[in-house]
């Protein structure tokens, strides 16, 4: 038996795309966009349930990028210019840190739609990791990078606590910057310290999701972080490059490609999971896309969700 989850932002349907475009042009009221959005979320939840996924996400369909909700939820953040999102033809607005950051309130309803997720099996929340958040922001307020990372970690810890009260049990911190080229030992120590804050006291499962980069460069230190699970993008990291390490955590096996429309076969995925298990001997393993599925058209992403479910059946 292997658990299966989604690991990021889900693409919008063509109807929601049309609605958001019309709203930008001033041709559609926000209430109508919200109605289509609600339909998309319900549809995604239904698909995950039908595909027998083990932790359900709301798809973050109203998140304009990984950081944008926190421009609203946290103090001290302004919106900056459009910036390329790693090696994708996709862009985010760079957060500009203008004063001390902290969580404004526990009202997270707009961006974490627990109300639309059923109580079983489990609810999964996806958040920016504190290191990536700080690394991709322009810091105009803090005298040291580590102070910014720590304050973001504190804000995220409060966010997690609020989400736990809303029934979330899985907490994934997205950390593509941790496996980007050029990470230094002091930076990785700063990130570790941040996780001692933001993952502290989590009653459920804490996950650091690395993606877009080769995790083998940093995995030795990541395995020492106080989290339950590390997610690996196996389209950027080879299994062999991780073999030498004692994988003392749950492995998020990112082998369904969120950046290519080619559908993997359940048989191929089963073989890959077996190889990852045998080679790395992790505490446990779950199957997941290597990153958000938002880089795919929605119809393709839906097929990938069904594929996850089929693979789960095959592995069982």
């Amino acid at each position: 038996m292997v658990e299966v989850h989604l690991s990021g932002v889900f693409p919008r349907s063509e109807k929601l795309i049309d609605a958001t475009r019309a709203a930008v042009r001033g041709n559609l009221p926000q209430a109508e966009v919200d109605r289509v959005l609600r339909h998309d979320i319900d549809s995604l939840v239904g698909l995950q349930v039908e595909s027998n996924l083990d932790a359900l996400v709301d798809g973050q369909l109203n998140w304009q990028d990984l950081f944008r909700p926190f421009n609203q939820l946290l103090t001290g953040i302004d919106l900056g210019s459009l910036t390329r999102w790693f090696d994708n033809n996709t862009f985010y607005r760079q957060p500009i840190i203008v004063e001390k950051v902290s969580l404004k309130s526990n009202d997270l309803q707009e961006y974490f739609r627990s109300d639309l997720l059923p109580n079983a099996p489990h609810k999964k929340a996806i958040l920016p990791g504190p290191f990536t958040f700080a690394h991709l922001s322009e810091n105009r307020a803090y005298s040291s990078f580590s102070d910014l990372v720590n304050d973001l970690a504190r804000a995220l810890q409060r966010t997690v606590a609020a989400l736990q009260e809303r029934g979330y049990e899985y907490f994934q911190f997205n950390e593509p910057s941790l496996c980007a080229p050029g990470r230094t030992q002091p930076e990785l120590e700063i990130a570790k310290h941040a996780y001692e804050t933001c993952a502290h006291g989590i009653g459920g499962t804490s996950i650091i999701q690395t993606y877009f980069g080769d995790a083998s460069q940093v995995i030795e230190l990541l395995l020492d972080y106080p989290v339950d699970s590390i997610g690996i993008d196996f389209y950027a990291t080879s299994i062999d490059s991780l073999k030498q390490y004692d994988f003392n955590k749950i492995l998020g096996c990112g082998c369904v490609d969120g950046r290519n429309s080619l559908l993997e076969s359940p048989k191929e995925l089963k073989t890959f999971i077996s190889r990852a298990k045998e080679s790395l001997e992790p505490v446990d393993i779950y199957l997941t896309p290597n990153c958000d599925l938002e880089f795919l058209p929605q119809t393709v992403a839906e097929k990938k969700v069904r594929l996850l479910g089929e693979t789960k059946r095959l592995v069982a």
Binding site: Y92, R93, T237, S238, N260, E268, F272, L296, P297
Partner: protein, 376 residues
Amino acid sequence: MGSKLFPVQEIGSLPKAPWLLNYLRGKDAGPSDLDHLSKWSKVSGFENESETRTILTKPKDAANQARLRELASIFAIRYLESAGLDYVYDGEENRIEMYEHPVRNSGGFEFYGHVRSFDSRYYRKAACVSKVAFQQAYHLNEFLLIKQHAKRRVKVPITGPYTIAEWSFNEYYQKQRASDYSDLRKLKFEAKRDFVLDVAKQIIQPNLKALVDAGAEWIQVDEPALTTKPDEVPFFVDAYNECTAGLPCKLSVHVCFSDYRLLYPHILKMKNCSQLALEFANRDDEKRSAYDQLKLLNEFGDKREVGLGVADVHVDDIESPELIKNRIEYASKILGDPARIYVNPDCGLRTRSWDVAYAKLTNIVKGAELSRRSFS
């Protein structure tokens, strides 16, 4: 152009003429469309204003649409010529856009839907589902029309093989290597190389040949995605050499909004490329530090011409002729040879208004003239 210093060249697309867009969308021309046509016809000396107005009142059938497209091309050529450019095209008035146009006119691709670019902006991304194939010389008719009407020398922009592959999903070439499923990273990397090379061989090479056979003297290969994945820059170099080998015309490469250090040393192996056209103004400051990246060419002994981006295409502020002159002269000092410098906006001006684009272009021309005087 001979020995004229600092020739000014078009680098990419202009905004679409509003009267063309509305006509193609089935809408009647409104007052603002007609004002646009009238204003820029006067400014540019566009000789077909009357015919254009007549067509705008006619049924929107295929023949009228085709003629209006031609008129929009001529309109854009005159706009660029009247701004004073030495090398022109037609602002790509008749291309869907730089990715979709080649992909929709080539074999092997299928569109599944939209993906997000940012916020509520989306684009159509195609999947390569079978071996890519040449279907038609998709810029040929456009080039023949421009060649017939342009009064200045013509440079043809064409989207390069790496950008087409990078902006597409790679299904077919990855499937071909699917037996090697044990290392997904290696699988994806090698399948990408296959894809880029085949786009170059099967699509770009015959398109380039058709343009050269029709008389194209200069073709610019646009590669905005080139440094997206630094370890894949060598794929582009191999692909470029494959599709440009033996072509008897001037060839150049346009790259923008990138870390140019990632291009080196790989691009030194590009054999048939006489100019690198690069964006700088967008990242410039008062110290002209953006142009310090030109030192890379010196560092690696790269003696090619430079298409110098001197106007930022992302802002409406109009660079003064003096600022343009300063940028040109700063770059000249670094390169040590002013004759290697051509001048252009950073990239296509399609996101600016016609007024802003024109003001930027005319100031580039004035700035180049100031520099010319200064050097003479």
